[in-house]
């Protein structure tokens, strides 16, 4: 931005060094990607369940579950407070377990998955994003937690 709208020192709410937050910096990209996946999975599962649920109930219910998990992860990461981050951690862990279990299941018994889900074949239909994303997300949460602990220790030290 060309015009200097706000100088950090001038606004009392914005400290000079920002507190680590799961929804800031690289976290914005994660929130955007999770938001997009939430949107895509929700749309897809609504379509599958309303238009042709009888064709394959299990994959379609899994799509709906995935949609819910992506939604929780998006909101949790974006909010970034302690409880939200814990909720996001649970959502991402379930997502990781889900993609591994469903991925393996769909390879071993392909006849159980006549219709694609986001998680079948480890998310190959989505460029393996569903497999990689929870790993990146969990890494990011861990990194933010460590940075928070470090900055809190810094604050405590300078207060002495």
């Amino acid at each position: 931005m060309s015009e200097p709208t706000s100088t950090p020192a001038a606004s009392p709410e914005q400290p000079l060094t920002e507190r680590p937050h799961t929804g800031h910096g690289f976290g914005r990209v994660l929130v955007a990607v999770y938001g997009l996946l939430a949107l895509a999975a929700t749309g897809r599962s609504i379509l599958q369940i309303t238009e042709y649920f009888d064709r394959a109930p299990v994959p379609f219910l899994l799509s709906a579950l995935a949609a819910l998990i992506y939604l929780v992860a998006t909101i949790g990461l974006a909010r970034g407070d302690r409880a939200s981050v814990r909720l996001a951690t649970i959502a991402l862990t379930v997502e990781l377990v889900g993609v591994l279990v469903v991925g393996t299941w769909s390879v071993v018994r392909p006849e159980a998955f006549p219709e694609k889900t986001v998680w079948s074949h480890f998310g190959a239909g989505y460029g393996y994003v569903p497999l990689v994303l929870p790993l990146v997300g969990l890494w990011w949460i861990r990194r933010t937690a460590r940075a928070t602990a470090a900055s809190d220790a810094e604050v405590a030290r300078s207060a002495d």
Binding site: G25, F26, R28, A32, L39, E51
Partner: protein, 120 residues
Amino acid sequence: MLQPLTVVLLVASGLLGLLAAHHLLRGRLVDDPLIIVGAAIELALVVQLVVGLTKASAIGDGAERATFIAYLFTVLLVIPATIVIAVKEKTQWAMAVVLGGALVVAILVARLQQVWSLNV
């Protein structure tokens, strides 16, 4: 569907992506050119929505038509969402989000064209 519009949209989202990549490398944040290109894309997407809705009945299969209409609406959300996120973020990650958003718009526009051409 309306091929010239699809081409315009693909070129415009490519332009937005280039602009975001340029800003990313130069360490710049959201500025007027970025907003203007984004707004132009959004306008073209609204035109696409109107054209798409008037022509949607040409798609015979109900589920495919529903997919087509869902894409028409979904693609409208991407640019505003990415710009809002990018305005809030004061580091280079802002431009990474816009770059990703431009890519998503291009993919969705291409998917729309694909759904259309496979079903008409």
